[in-house]
Amino acid sequence: MVKTTKSLDEVTIRFAGDSGDGMQLTGTQFTNTSAIMGNDLSTLPDYPAEIRAPQGTLFGVSGFQIHFGSKEINTPGDQCDVLVAMNAAALKVNLRSLVNGGAIIVNTDGFNDKNLKLAGYEANPLNNDSLSKYQVFQVDITKLTNLALADMNLPQKIVDRTKNFFALGMMYWIYNRSIGSTIEWVNDKFKSKADIAEANIRVLKAGWNFAETTEIFSVRYDVKPASLAPGKYRNITGNQATALGLVAAANKAKLDLFLGSYPITPASDILHDLSMYKQYGVKTFQAEDEIAGVTGAIGASFGGALAVTTTSGPGLALKTEAIGLAVMVELPIVVVNIQRGGPSTGLPTKTEQADLLQAIYGRNGEAPVPVIAASTPGDCFYSVFEASRIALKYMTPVMFLSDGYLGNGSEPWLIPNPESLPDISPKFRTDPNGYLPYLRDEKTLAREWAIPGTPGLEHRIGGLEKEDKTGNVSYDPENHERMVRLRAEKVERIANDIPPAQVEGDEKGDLLVVGWGGTYGAIRTAVEQKRAEGKSVSHLHLHYLNPLQKNVGEILYNFKHVLVAEINLGQLIKVLRAKYLVPAVGLNKIQGLPFKASEIEKKIDEVLGNSK
């Protein structure tokens, strides 16, 4: 039959199935292939906390959304244009993400009576008109997969596990993607299991051929490469970028990287990645608990390492006392918090920005800690590098905030030239003459780093209040106040050492949308849309949450309205109101999900509408 090809600027696809169906893998493969084909993109994995939730259930549905295009892509897409549903539960859970008129590709085998019952369907939605708003493509993926592998005599379990590649093959054909990079990946992954490799490749090709030869799909789509800045790219998740940024920082600091960590979702991937970097001298310590992770890092820092601990909210809560110790002993550590939904165990696999106040204030006593947040997956690299620079230069713990959305989400990343990264190597004290542990640099107020092994600098530090300069234990009232103020002033002075905040859009206007962290893409998309409509809106995205950049107040005062959009009940807004006394309003969403650009656009209209 004649097949037509249409060109599209952007598409959002959502792959959904059982958590055992390999949807994350399918999505990742589609992502890598699209990245290599030069599209700009953004992804949103959305998976349950249970590793293998009971098959066919609603809570066992695992999804992966990818938004790719030939234009600039900043979010994983508000809604998907295409939904690939491997069973009834996947359809039920994800249908609300699909645009009206969108396409649904279903595995009909996933709609048997048992599946329908588990998904809570009274009647099979494929057989009535409940999906009439959509274009539905029905394919018996299970049967076709079995046929493709019929002569291989593989255990049924293995056959079942390849059916996601049938779906992937179809999607590759529909979106005119090459299957080469996935074949390469399969061959590498199953190097020692030739039959499994062959099965996957066969099924992938079968999916492709099926889409090409049958009459079900009459249109295929072309999504041309985006005009990204020239250079070499790789696709990267926020957690991968964080791991790379830490290794790069250690390299540029000429120090060993030490990671003390306890496994926790969604931060564990950083531990996994770093434990593969042994040839870079990286030492990873999977500690017995969160506290040992951070105190191990403090010990390593005492010994002269770039020491890091990685965690998520509940883990950060456990590390609180130790971070206070690092404040007191003035040793550098980087605390990486990949935020997730809280409180308590909360929503381990869902994203949230509700640890900001905990990061800035959450310790006993006056214990100021610099806080830096990444805005995109790729930005995690630069932000954690910056966190390391500040920790080493100012002899302080620094909090690096990312979140589940950034950590697991991915985007094409322009690989930096290593030469372009600054030297951040510290100056260890070696001269015993006149050494006192708490003498400070006049400009930064940082004390000197004197590591064990240096003769003549033997000294003692600890969590008890320090006497100014000598570092001896002191209970003197005036000394305590002086030290509290010195530690606060040291952190404040970091503001002298960071670039000014930059507004996207005009410097003055009706409305400034302020955000921080992973909301960057959604806010940028919304603000650009409104600007295109002629609205006077600008965007300020803060990377430095403590201390704030010096020009933040000035920027805020240049706008009639300030809207602070956050995935929490309003935390940055408290900080901004307290410091600058601005009558900001908040846009808050606490659903474990990122903002949709449309939600921000609606709020912008509302604020501007009210102003008339």
Binding site: A35, I36, G38, S181, P225, L228, P230, K232, Y233, R234, N235, L244, V247, A248, A250, N251, K254, D256, F258, Y277, K278, Q279, Y280, G281, K283, F285, A287, D289, I291, A292, T295, G296, I298, G299, A300, S301, F302, G303, G304, A305, E321, V329, I415, P418, L421, T430, I451, P452, G453, T454, P455, G456, E458, R460, I461, G462, G463, L464, N472, V473
Partner: protein, 352 residues
């Protein structure tokens, strides 16, 4: 070690190379020692300072790390590198430091509350990993710094401020806990036996792997005399069994009693009643971990003398050495990582 740390340490001149071997005094800091007069801690500090010169380790390579409690003030009094950490975490701080800096000689100073209550978790994991640090656990069977509550080693029934009707907690036996955690070096000594303490501390320092020394320490303010049965002249000989490698287990003022193994049960036999001779006694063997369990289990048993000495000293690769080795073998196999390789790994594509 990192490029920078190596460079720094290779460039520093040894501090005016000491003409003679350092003395105990060289390990005393300028801080006034502030324990209560008569506290057992003084003796432990003094014996430690006395043995350090014999270890032939430069002072700047030594680090004392403590948690919270009376004993944890120890590092302030040592003219070495020191770290007074937070409650219970000295073992974890020490673990991180040893991994980062295997060249250092690291001591953890802790107590029965710090090391076995709030810090119990880190303690057992340090021991099972066999990280090469030396732990001295000052056991005074009481909380001193917080003024007299019962501790995880206080005897059952103990009346304290927080147990007016007597404690209903069953006490830990630190030596058994250490053995159960697969600690490679487990010993017990006492504040009032300086000679013995020096021998044990030296052996602990020389041991490769985690060394755990339970030190009976008298808190003369809140738990005076807790160990007098074992430390005082009048009662010591009849109640203490000194463990010596390769020697039969004999005790008593007249050296007239010994420990015989009846099945797995240690029993006291007389060497005078004509029924038993030295050949019936257990011969101590530090390499026999089953025996170590049996001996440690004699603790708290009314009719048995209290074993003091080295229960076990085994060889097992240390965590820190294996960590270094994995890094070295990775470098050998994959070549030393460079920034170019790091950043350009995986699938890449170029946009013109």
């Amino acid at each position: 070690m990192s490029v920078l740390v190596e460079e720094i340490l290779s460039n520093v001149k040894p501090a005016d190379a000491p003409a003679a071997k350092p003395s105990a005094r060289d390990f005393q800091s300028d801080q006034d020692v502030r324990w209560c007069p008569g506290c057992g801690d003084y003796s432990i500090l003094a014996q430690t300072q006395r043995i350090l010169p014999d270890l032939n380790i430069p002072r700047e390579k030594m680090v004392f790390i403590s948690g919270i409690g009376c004993s944890s003030r120890f590092p302030y009094y040592m003219e070495t590198y020191g770290f007074h950490g937070i409650h219970g975490r000295a073992t974890a701080i020490a673990s991180g430091l040893k991994m980062a800096r295997p060249d250092l000689s690291i001591w953890v100073i802790t107590g029965d509350g710090d090391g076995l209550s709030i810090g119990g978790n880190h303690m057992i994991h340090l021991m099972r990993r066999n990280i090469d640090v030396n732990v001295i656990l000052f056991n005074n069977q009481i909380y001193g710094l917080t003024k007299g509550q019962y501790s995880p080693t206080s005897e059952k029934g103990k009346v304290t401020k927080s147990t007016p009707l007597g404690s209903i907690d069953y006490p830990f036996n630190p030596a058994s806990l250490a053995l159960g955690s697969s600690c490679t070096f487990v010993a017990r000594s006492m504040d009032r036996d300086p000679k013995h303490m020096q021998t044990v501390l030296k052996r602990a320092a020389e041991h490769k792997g985690t060394s755990f020394v339970e030190m009976y320490q008298n808190c003369n303010v809140f738990n005076d005399g807790a160990f007098f049965t074992f430390t005082e002249k009048e009662s010591r000989d009849e109640n203490v069994l000194y463990l010596e490698h390769g020697k039969p287990l004999i005790f008593g003022k007249e050296k007239d009693k010994g420990i015989h193994l009846d099945g797995f049960t240690p029993t006291v036999v007389s060497l005078k009643d004509g029924k038993h001779s030295v050949s019936d006694l257990i011969v101590h063997n530090e390499k026999d971990s089953t025996l170590a369990f049996i001996l440690a289990n004699m603790t708290y048993q009314e009719n048995l003398p209290r074993p003091i000495g080295i229960f076990q000293s085994l060889e097992r690769p240390t965590y820190d050495a294996m960590m270094t080795q994995q890094i070295e073998s990775s470098i050998e196999k994959r070549g030393k990582g460079t920034m170019e390789k790091l950043l350009n790994a995986g699938e890449t594509w170029t946009i013109q």
